[in-house]
């Protein structure tokens, strides 16, 4: 006698206690129908699990920063990210790097806060000291990108599966107006 399909789903989740789980395991070994149902459930579970975890670092940083500025006393001091660069770095370049690297909202919060979360000091010897008081992941990458032109990460968009694209000719780029003119 086959168990209810919902039971199989619960079995998959480890929600069936002994001795009934053993009984189900035995039943699955001998029943093609139930095994097929179970396999489908397993596959759905697998697909759900394998779906790429969303990119969370930016969100995490933003929320953390906001939480921190809300209650600096309760949470204690921020870790301090401090770097001394041997060369003078134009403030604009540094700010641009922060802007593009962290995004506008985070850069705003950092740079505009009157708690003094970002400090840029120019040393008389010609170096630059940068202090950022905020728990932001990956500030080392920011440092690497300073001075270089390339600080943007690429966006990767996944095209729908099982859709095969075929080339119809050379790649083309132009204003919409140009293409519409050509059509006529």
């Amino acid at each position: 006698m086959c168990p209810d399909n919902g039971i199989l789903s619960a079995y998959l989740d480890g929600e069936i206690d002994a001795p009934w789980n053993k009984a189900i395991a035995e039943h699955l070994a001998s029943c093609d129908l139930c095994r097929a149902v179970f396999r489908r459930l397993e596959e759905t579970h697998r697909v759900l699990q394998s779906d790429e975890a969303p990119e969370w670092t930016e969100a995490m940083d933003r929320v953390r920063l906001n939480l921190g500025s809300r209650a600096a006393g309760v949470l204690g001091r921020f870790p301090l990210w401090k770097r001394r660069l041997p060369v003078p770095v134009p403030v604009a370049a540094l700010v641009a790097a922060l802007l593009l690297f962290l995004g506008v909202s985070l850069a705003f919060t950092l740079l505009r806060s009157n708690v003094g979360l970002v400090k840029i000091t120019l040393a008389p010897a010609g170096g630059t000291e940068i202090q950022i008081a905020a728990p932001i992941s990956n500030l080392e990458s920011l440092l690497k990108s300073l001075g270089g032109e390339d600080m943007t990460h690429e966006d990767i968009i996944t095209l729908p599966k099982n859709v095969r694209l075929l080339t119809s000719g050379q790649q083309l780029m132009g204003t919409e107006a140009e293409f519409l003119r050509k059509k006529k």
Partner: protein, 176 residues
């Protein structure tokens, strides 16, 4: 989660570092919107912070945070339904929705087929499935959060899986 001494209650930072990614993923899968998910996480951790004097272990913190996410996501869901109803009325009134405004309605992110399949489920099926698959909560915990019986959780998780399985299988075929 290495480096955490389980002998003492975790600090807020430890809880935040360990649980934010998980909570964010849950919030995103259940609401389908990055901005909303971030807001939800923000609210949830503020609430946790306000209880800083009593911080249970990680497992309990996780359960507690998911419970908050459920309350907030349910409110969001109800709000969305009202807005959707209002928008539908509007499209029937206007002569035609121009392409550019249509585009504005499309969310500016790529949606995986899993997220699309999840979005298609009603909240009552989506939430238990997400809490189970991405939160790893037991049926009893999910039942406690949603205010339903364990058996009801079982049925909903099963139905959600059936529907998702079907939706994903259909998505694999060529779009007609």
């Amino acid at each position: 989660m290495s480096g955490i001494d389980y002998g003492r209650p975790p600090s807020f930072d430890e809880v935040y570092e360990s649980l934010f990614p998980l909570i964010y993923r849950i919030a995103l899968r259940v609401t389908g919107d990055r901005e909303i998910a971030e807001d939800l996480c923000h609210e949830a951790f503020i609430k946790l912070m306000e209880r800083a004097s009593f911080l249970p272990d990680l497992e309990q913190s996780k359960y507690w945070l998911i419970r908050v996410v459920k309350n907030l996501s349910l409110n969001y869901e109800k709000k969305r339904k009202r807005e959707k109803a209002a928008y539908t009325k509007l499209t029937h009134l206007s002569v035609g929705v121009s392409e550019s405004s249509e585009k504005k309605l499309l969310r500016d992110e790529t949606r995986s087929s899993v997220q699309e399949a999840l979005d298609a489920l009603p909240y009552s099926l989506r939430a238990p499935l997400v809490f189970r698959e991405y939160g790893g909560l037991s049926y009893r915990e999910i039942g406690s959060i949603l205010g339903i019986s364990e058996n009801n959780v079982k049925v909903r998780v099963f139905r959600a899986r059936e529907r998702i399985g079907k939706a994903l299988a259909e998505g694999d075929e060529h779009v007609s």
